[in-house]
């Protein structure tokens, strides 16, 4: 695994308390990761309700089975991997993936105009097929290495590369016409 950040270290300390039955540690992780898990969940399925169920299940299981758990290298990745398993299992068993594609929430009102690019990209990515979204999410938002993504998803390097490549091709197609927008974001980097 890559370098251990201070944040990761803090998580591990708090995780230790959780394993000792400290309820506030649960609150800490819920507050810290609920939104992050939603974002990752949305790259696996557009079904928000399914994600909500999976997140609740994940935290409840964490608590009830805390004496069988150990301290992971990265709590963040541990939670993500666990959420992934739950969501994929739910999709398989309930065939719930044939839902109407949930609307990508419009974040326009919350942020200023300078965030146009973020929103545009987010929306473009959210219209990709699930697996492509997941890989884009893990690679560029979560900034995992191919090796880490393989560890999380079980997909081989070549599959990862091909899927990502397809995703980026599609995105590029969507982004044609947005060239100005792409270029205005910054200039003076190579001076």
């Amino acid at each position: 695994m890559s370098r251990v950040s201070a944040d990761q270290e803090t998580d591990r300390v708090v995780w230790g308390r959780l394993l000792n039955g400290n309820q506030e540690a649960m609150t800490y992780f819920y507050e810290k990761y609920a939104d992050h898990l939603l974002r990752y969940g949305l790259s696996l399925t557009p079904d928000r309700e399914l994600i909500s169920d999976a997140v609740q299940e994940l935290f409840i299981t964490l608590w009830t089975r805390r004496n069988q758990l150990s301290i992971p290298d990265s709590v963040r990745h541990y939670l993500m991997a666990s959420l992934r398993r739950r969501i994929l299992r739910a999709i398989r068993s309930e065939k719930r993936n044939i839902v109407v594609t949930a609307e990508v929430p419009d974040v326009a009102d919350e942020h200023g105009d300078d965030d146009e690019m973020h929103q545009y990209l987010q929306r473009a990515v959210r219209s990709l097929p699930a697996r492509q979204q997941e890989l884009v999410f893990l690679k560029y938002y979560e900034k995992l290495s191919y090796e880490q993504i393989t560890a999380l998803t079980g997909l081989e390097y070549q599959v990862l590369r091909n899927t990502l490549y397809r995703a980026l091709k599609t995105l590029r197609g969507t982004l044609v016409g947005q060239v100005d927008l792409l270029l205005t974001v910054f200039f003076c980097f190579f001076l």
Binding site: G16, G21, Y28, L42, T64, V107, F189
Partner: protein, 332 residues
């Protein structure tokens, strides 16, 4: 690698390229600078790829309703699924039993008390009580009334020393090294983390509001739910957060932590604010009968260990009548 044949998506998919964009080091920096010098016509392609990587962000959040509902379900299961070893934690949550237990402990032990939960230390102060603590790492903490400090038993041995505060405390952090490396000190307050880079500061968490006031040194205040919501404090500055997840604001600190000297100082504060300060540290209820009176502003100070003195002063100086019924004070 034949980079000059690359299109935007090839760059984006290239691990080395991504590394350069997200966390450049001197070697990659040097490489790409030279490469771009050699292929100037590739700049636009490279910039587009960089833009994509830098701007890709997901910002979906649970709505407040969803968030609360989900947590409620989890909390219900947590209480049900509690194992025998967490009886202490459950006790701790049921307010009334707890208060009566606390009261008897206080009677026995005099002021303050000490509680050990698993490996977590908890130090609490009662209403009207201020405590000076010396932690095992040499850090001095002054804990204001009606407050709680938590830290793990082995915290001086951790790579990062971390403690949690509910209520209000003043910290004088001891500089420390562990195996030749500086050992950072982090204070958690609600959803905020205060990373201590220097020494003396005050943290308050009351009614969901968090304030961090720096007296000496340097601290970084970060929202644990959103690491981009962060700011750095210089001495004399104050970071404020008015509710969890709301943006951090910076202000000039109006006054130092005068409560340590058992004085509550207020400057141009509304009567409502002063009443809240009193209720934070004393087991009393202040009820202001008149809406207009709530927003009257006052400047002055009074000893923090006596609420009665404050009301006496208030009655003498202003046309305000104070009526007391047990723990309730009515102002009109």
């Amino acid at each position: 690698m034949d980079y000059n044949q690359f299109e935007v998506e090839d760059f984006i998919a290239d691990e080395e390229f991504v590394k350069w964009v997200t966390g450049p080091d001197p070697v990659t920096e040097q490489f790409w600078k030279e490469w771009l010098g050699r292929y100037p016509d590739k700049r636009e392609t490279v910039e587009r790829a960089r833009n994509f990587i830098r701007n890709l962000e997901f910002r979906e959040t649970w709505s407040a309703g969803e968030r609360t509902r989900m947590w409620r379900n989890i909390a219900v299961e947590m209480d049900r699924g509690s194992l025998p070893d967490s009886i202490a934690t459950k006790w701790f949550r049921s307010g009334l039993t707890w208060l009566s237990v606390a009261a008897s402990v206080l009677l026995l032990a005099g002021i303050g008390w000490y509680y050990r939960m698993g490996t977590t230390h908890e130090i609490r102060t009662d209403f009207g009580e201020i405590r000076e603590l010396l932690l095992e790492d040499g850090t001095q903490v002054t804990l204001n009334a009606n407050s709680r400090l938590e830290y793990s038993g082995d915290f001086p041995e951790q790579d990062i020393r971390s403690v949690r505060i509910h209520g209000e405390a003043f910290f004088k952090v001891a500089k420390r090294e562990l195996a030749g490396k500086k050992q950072p000190f982090v204070v958690y307050a609600n959803g905020l983390a205060v990373h201590v880079l220097g020494t003396e500061f005050n943290v308050t968490t009351r009614r969901g509001k968090v304030a961090v006031t720096l007296e000496e040194g340097l601290v970084r205040v970060t929202d644990t739910a959103n690491s981009e919501n962060t700011l750095m404090l210089q001495p004399g500055e104050k970071a404020l957060q008015y509710g969890s997840r709301s943006p951090l604001k910076k202000e000039k600190a109006a006054e130092e932590a005068s409560w340590k000297e058992r004085v509550i100082r207020y400057r141009h504060s509304t009567l409502q604010e002063i009443a809240e300060m009193l209720m934070d540290v004393h087991d009393i209820q202040v009820i202001i009968m008149d809406e207009k009176l709530k927003n009257e502003r006052f400047t002055g100070s009074f000893p923090s260990d006596s609420a009665t003195l404050f009301f006496d002063k208030l009655e003498k100086l202003y046309p305000i009548t104070v009526t007391r019924e047990g723990k309730k004070y009515f102002l009109e």
